[in-house]
């Protein structure tokens, strides 16, 4: 064969071998965990008592497989009456974790970075905040709720996250909504 072959391979092959060896140490697998430790929210539960502290009921909104995939598997209808005011607490859970995790205490302890907001399509629903963060602004995990008119509509619960606690003024939601769920609401 031609002498060029020898020269060509004597140069190309060692380089190719060196490169291949150098790359053999490089993994094709990410060093990060496949499913990370971040807590996602799957479930919102509203616990309601009367003003004396007697349990009335709990209602749940749940998307057990997290965002996407299957549609939410459980959306309860909240049934309340116009008679008396109620004391409510909202709970934020992750049922994808084993066992289930209650994220509520973390939200309350980081109260200066969080606030719950409530809204309804019905008239006559009045919500007042029953808790305060370290800066004296409401968190809204505990509220007082009263209804003055019967009807059927929606009850909307939102949780705003404030990266910068200084942006939390107790009135306006942030642009980082962690939770926004709609419960059907029936006032008798």
């Amino acid at each position: 064969m031609h002498a060029w072959h020898g020269r060509f391979f004597s140069r190309f092959i060692p380089v190719a071998v060196a490169v291949t060896l150098a790359l053999a140490g490089c993994s094709e697998t990410s060093t990060h965990p496949d499913d990370d430790d971040h807590d996602i929210v799957t479930t919102i539960r509203l616990d309601v008592t009367d003003t004396l502290g007697n349990a009335v009921r709990s209602w749940t909104w749940e998307d057990a497989d997290g965002p996407g995939g299957a549609a939410p598997n459980r959306i309860d209808t909240i049934v309340l009456s116009t008679n008396a005011p109620y004391l409510c607490s909202v709970h934020v859970l992750n049922v994808l974790a084993e066992p289930d995790e209650d994220l509520t205490p973390v939200i309350v302890s980081e109260g200066i970075h969080h606030q719950f907001f409530y809204a309804s399509t019905l008239t006559g629903i009045v919500v007042t905040y029953n808790d305060k963060d370290a800066n004296g602004r409401p968190i809204g995990q505990r509220i007082r709720l009263s209804a003055s008119e019967a009807g059927k509509g929606l009850f909307i619960i939102e949780l705003s996250h404030f990266d910068d606690a200084a942006n939390k003024n107790g009135v306006d939601p942030s642009d980082e909504t962690d939770v926004r769920v709609e419960f059907p609401l029936h006032i008798q």
């Binding site: 430790d37 997290g66 974790a97 980082e176 909504t177 939770v179």
Partner: protein
């Protein structure tokens, strides 16, 4: 492609007469563009390869000679003096480097009939911006899709991402392409020559090269003559307090061996960007890169090894981080950020950390008259991590309260270091190509390529799965120059195989999905030199791309777009037929070029809203976007022209228009660039005191509002049109015998607030305001 050899003869009047020839066979080259750098004087060579330039001012000028299929050549020539003519002629011959080993690596110019633009290293130097895409923006028809000042994706004729191919050192750059927030991970400081090809390039570059190609070729290293030289550059951008340093050093024939080496490094650090009225929080970024090249051998037989590492940390504007669509609507209604952030170099979550490592080995072997054999091996790894701002809500696990508290701290620390999404994409490329030249002006090549790609996903975001892909391609192309014509044609077959491992959020089992696609790419073109001053290019090309993995399998909220994206595993390949016609005209004092292009897509893949099925999540209701296929068409025109008013002043205009239509629904395509036009005046003063080639360039860029959009398919209508003014002053100064380049450019001189439709932040914030850019470059070592 070998550089052009330039032979010049001089007359007593300020008239420059020259001939452009091929350096190897000495054939006169017809249709080469000759320009006097900085003056807008220019000519096209005639059938004998000759050109004439009249009224050339100054004692010397720099000529830039370019021709499709050849490397751009810059050469300084004297314009007066009749006694020394012969001497200068021989010197210019010696100065030409007749053999550049790596210039054979040119990967885009395989078709001599397509509209291309080559940016020389000096031009790149003068236009250098924070991103590679922004560096290319002055080319008509090229725009960029931006996500803040640090992230930009180039777009050619309304096609971006996976409809373009970027090659780096001979291999196609492979990074994540599915998001508008995924810019190509290429350092704008790399010492290279950039070729922008507009139009389909599928025959040469395989699937995805539908809209065009951008080729980044490291500057040629030569083993011909011993030398040691380098260059250092510095850029300062006042808008975001950005500083950048870059340097390279090369040595040829060290210890009298057939070797040339180059090392290169750069560093960049930027703080938050400032719009005229407020600061965009968390838009700082930093980047570094390092690379080395080695050439062993000569033009007959040699190997080039090129390796680069690029690493960047990019802040994502904190006002763009939305929880749900209601948040976005609130931000749009407010019209400006809630608070103007302090100017800061800190980068907090949300942020991206991306590293790209690339290695290419290219071998060539001239087999006498039979042809030239080229082999390419490429390895690259793209490691992308995206960090969410919502990582801090962590619950301790365990029965005992102390254990729980400890666990919660440990998990919080872990979570802060763990990206919400990490994607590790590894790609191997191999290619063997045989180039032949025959008598009678025929040139061509046949080749075979192979590819293996592996993607590993980690984290809590389910937009792309783990996958492995293989591809093979077989191609041939040929061109024929005869008299005033050049004809070209090519054909390619490709096949792609994909295996994806699908596992959704909460799934315990993984399902395997296998797909396969194949298609033919083809091209035909011609260049016709109708007159010495007028030539026309006509091209038609068939190209295709396989669906991207996110288009097949996405099933999650795409936070960058505040929408829920659902893929369709049954998607077919997308095909396109592109046709373009370019006319170039150059006479003394006037030059014009226009390109008309039309691309018809069969099964264009796009995400369209599925209004019936919004996705209800615990964060609220998101509009569902489904990836679907439709027929579509993109038509447009690019235009550029210059007119010399006098020896020192010229006016120029360039612009582009693009119209995209979804033929299935008969509505405009999403995110097409708005019509734009730049008009400017260029003043070239030659020598002022000790500064050479002094130039002043003032231009106005006008962009119309994009009025072609589908109402209710975007969160807000496109922003209004705008006009901004740019100013640039520069020249060359001699420092310690070195020819240093210095320029000051001001972008958006009048500090006008505006928003571009192609900016991802258009919903909630203005584009950056006035930016004063200082660029300084100095060569060192042997000249």
């Amino acid at each position: 492609m070998l550089p052009i050899l330039l032979a010049l003869t001089f007359f007593a009047d300020p008239h420059l007469h020259g001939i452009v020839r091929d350096s190897v066979d000495g054939v006169a080259l017809q249709g080469a563009t000759v320009r006097v750098v900085g003056s807008r004087l220019g000519a096209i060579t005639d059938a004998a390869g000759e050109f004439h330039l009249h009224d050339v001012v100054g004692d010397s000028v720099t000529l830039e000679v370019s021709m499709i299929g050849y490397a751009v050549k810059r050469q300084r020539v004297p314009t007066e003096g009749s006694i020394v003519v012969t001497v200068l002629l021989s010197r210019s011959d010696v100065e030409t480097r007749p053999v550049d080993v790596t210039s054979a690596a040119s990967s885009v110019n395989a078709f001599p009939t397509q509209p291309t633009r080559v940016m020389s290293a000096e031009e790149i130097d003068a236009q250098r911006a924070a991103t590679l895409a922004a560096t290319l923006e002055r080319t008509p028809g090229v725009t960029s899709v931006t996500t803040g000042p640090g992230i930009a994706k180039p777009m050619i004729h309304g096609m971006t991402g996976t409809r373009l191919v970027m090659t780096n050192a001979g291999i196609a750059q492979e990074g994540q392409q599915w998001g508008q927030e995924h810019g190509p991970e290429i350092d704008p400081f790399v010492p290279a020559r950039i070729t922008i090809l507009k139009g389909p390039a599928g025959v040469r570059l395989g699937p995805n090269a539908m809209g065009g190609a951008i080729s980044i070729e490291p500057l040629p290293l030569s083993t011909q003559t011993a030398s040691l030289r380098g260059e250092a550059g510095m850029n300062i951008f006042t808008n975001n307090g950005q500083g950048a340093l870059g340097a390279w050093l090369e040595t040829s024939r060290p210890l009298d061996t057939d070797v040339a080496l180059r090392a290169q490094a750069s560093l960049r650090k930027a703080a938050t960007a400032r719009t005229p009225n407020y600061t965009l929080g968390n838009t700082g970024f930093d980047a570094w890169s390092a690379g080395a090249s080695m050439v062993v051998g000569n033009d007959t037989l040699g190997v080039t090894v090129h390796g680069t590492m690029f690493s960047t940390t990019l802040g994502i504007y904190d006002g763009a981080h939305m929880g749900n669509p209601t948040d976005l609507e609130r931000a749009i209604a407010r019209g400006a950020p809630e608070t103007s952030a302090p100017f800061s170099y800190d980068v907090d979550p949300p942020r991206q950390e991306v590293a790209h490592r690339l290695l290419s080995v290219q071998g060539h072997w001239q087999l006498g008259d039979v042809g030239r054999l080229k082999m390419t091996y490429g390895w690259q790894q793209n490691d992308r991590s995206e960090f969410d701002a919502h990582n801090t809500r962590i619950v301790g696990r365990g029965d005992d309260p102390v254990e729980r508290a400890r666990d919660s701290v440990a998990r919080l620390e872990r979570a802060l270091q763990t990206p919400a999404m990490n994607l590790l994409l590894t790609t191997y490329n191999g290619a063997v190509e045989m180039e032949q030249s025959w008598l009678g002006g025929m040139d061509g090549a046949v080749g075979v390529t192979g590819l293996r790609q592996v993607n590993d996903r980690a984290g809590s975001v389910y937009l792309v799965p783990d996958y492995e892909a293989y591809g093979v391609g077989l191609y041939a192309f040929e061109s024929w120059s005869v008299d005033r014509w050049i004809f070209s044609g090519g054909l390619r077959v490709d096949r792609r195989w994909l295996t994806a491992w699908l596992k959704g959020r909460g799934d315990t089992t993984t399902t395997v999905d296998e797909r396969e696609w194949g298609a033919i790419s083809a091209s035909m073109g011609m260049q016709w030199m109708i007159l010495d001053s007028w030539n026309v290019l006509v091209n038609a090309g068939l190209s295709w791309r396989p669906p991207q993995v996110n288009e097949l399998y996405a099933n999650d909220v795409h936070h960058g777009a505040a929408r829920y994206e659902v893929g369709d595993p049954e998607l077919d390949r997308e095909r396109a037929l592109g046709i373009d016609v370019t006319s170039r005209h150059a006479v003394r004092g006037f030059e014009a070029e226009a390109t008309l292009h039309l691309t018809h897509f069969d099964k264009y893949i796009q995400a369209v809203p599925d209004a019936e099925n919004p996705t209800v999540t615990v964060r609220g209701t998101f509009p569902t976007y489904q990836f679907v296929q439709t027929d579509a068409v993109i038509v447009g025109v690019d235009l550029s022209s210059t007119l010399d008013l006098s020896d020192i002043i010229s006016l120029y205009v360039n612009g582009s228009m693009v119209r995209g239509t979804d033929l299935g629904r008969n509505v405009p395509l999403f995110l097409m660039p708005a019509d734009r036009l730049r008009v400017g005046a260029h003043l070239h003063l030659h020598d002022v005191l000790d500064i050479h080639d002094v130039h002043v360039d003032l231009s106005l860029l006008g962009v119309r509002t994009q009025d072609r959009y589908v109402v209710d398919e975007d969160y807000a209508p496109p922003p209004p049109g705008y006009v901004i003014a740019d100013l640039s002053v520069g020249g060359r100064v001699s420092i310690a015998g070195r020819d240093a380049r210095l320029s000051i450019s001001i972008r958006n001189v009048l500090d006008r607030p505006y928003r571009d439709y192609l900016s991802q932040y258009r919903y909630f914030a203005d584009d950056p305001g006035r930016d004063i850019i200082l660029r300084f470059t100095i060569p060192f070592g042997d000249l």
